[in-house]
């Protein structure tokens, strides 16, 4: 077997450390304490670096707080309320408002929330939850029934059709989130307002779908 010098080994060291092991380099390493020491040191450095990498730290909460503030200042993200209305508001703004279906569902929802709001002892979570569910479950069922009746309506334009259904899926996700929040904090007025708005948005969307379906008949 050909023997190599320390300089030869050093020239091959980079690829050796990458796993490219030659038999003549191995033979040199067995007989050369200097090169063996070098390889051991480099492996030790790599090993210590790996264990260092296993530890990850988390930045303090101030980083996200100031980042978010900066993003809001620059208009890159919208505050929660604005985002909530513009998700759907912008889309609806470009469409004519169908009055009847929307007004029908809106009145139902508004009435139900008005009934469920006045509670003399807000600390009683069970009562709040029960009241919320009592008032919203019929609405939920009503919305589902309305949605099922619209399922057969399909717009002639597949792009508009897909957009309507995609928006419906988004609203449904949003409703699910709001329902979860109300479930967790039934006494939270803000959560209940959000759920109300979510139902309102779905009512609007279903109304739009109705109108589109009727127009295509």
């Amino acid at each position: 077997m050909a023997t190599i010098t320390c300089k030869d080994f050093l020239d091959r060291l980079e690829s050796w450390m990458e796993g490219d092991v030659h038999s003549d380099s191995q033979a040199h390493l067995r007989n050369c304490p200097h090169c063996r020491s070098l390889v051991d040191d480099l492996k030790g450095i790599r090993s210590e670096a790996r264990s260092w990498g296993a530890e990850e730290a988390e930045p303090s909460a101030r980083v996200w707080a100031s980042l978010r503030s900066q993003l809001e200042q620059e208009g890159l993200i919208r505050p929660a309320d604005a985002a909530k209305t513009t998700w759907f508001g912008g889309w609806f703004a470009s469409l004519p408002r169908p009055a009847l279906a929307s007004a029908y569902l809106t009145l139902l929802i508004a009435g139900a929330f008005a009934v469920s709001r006045p509670m003399s002892r807000p600390s009683n979570e069970a009562r709040w939850l029960a009241a919320s569910q009592d008032s919203t479950m019929p609405l939920r069922a009503q919305l589902i029934a309305e949605q099922n009746s619209f399922a057969s309506f399909n717009n002639a334009n597949p792009v508009v059709n897909a957009s309507l259904h995609e928006n419906l899926a988004i609203v449904d996700n949003y409703i699910a989130l709001c329902e979860k929040s109300v479930q967790e904090e039934p006494q939270n007025e803000v959560a209940r307002d959000y759920l109300y708005q979510a139902y309102q948005q779905k009512a609007d969307l279903l109304a739009q779908m109705t109108e589109r379906g009727e127009n295509n008949r």
Binding site: C6, S66, Q70, L71
Partner: protein
Amino acid sequence: MPEAEAIRLAQQGNAAAFERLYRLHNRRVYSLCLRMVSNTAEAEDLTQEAFLQLFRKIATFRGESAFSTWLHRLAVNVVLMKLRKKSGTETSLDEMTEPDEDSGGPRRDFGTLDLRLSGSIDRVNLQRAVEQLPPGYKAVFVLHDVQGYEHNEIAEIMQCSIGNSKSQLHKARMRLRELLHEAVRDKAREDRKAASAESGSED
């Protein structure tokens, strides 16, 4: 919310999606910054700057590269810019990774280093040595050996060739070995001084 969905919603300005992306990646980006600058306040500022740049450009993200690779490229650039400003010079990557002999670049006559480092490579010594690396070496070493990136990913992050990444990593490790040897020799010298001072005071 899955990452792809968060990216899509963040491109529409959704606040929750931005936060989701931040929570998914903040530890890794912050750890990278901290290892590069060794100062928590500075690392936090750099993390914030990296995410700010990311979110400013997120509308242009088309998924040609992995999102995390894109983010890390921004983070590395932010850190390297900071280190360049600190050193007061506008230097290229090559200049940052190829120091000349006078400034302590990796020597190839390693035979003069007889000491073995075994037992001396602990976290504290390694961190001190990494702090002294030129920025380019430091970036490649931290990305590969510490953060666990492959050379093809580093090439994408650092905008260099895979061969260049391998070469810089090797030079970084060799330079670290020299720095660790220097630390061992300094320690031995200090121990000798302390021992002789002690024996002098006894006389």
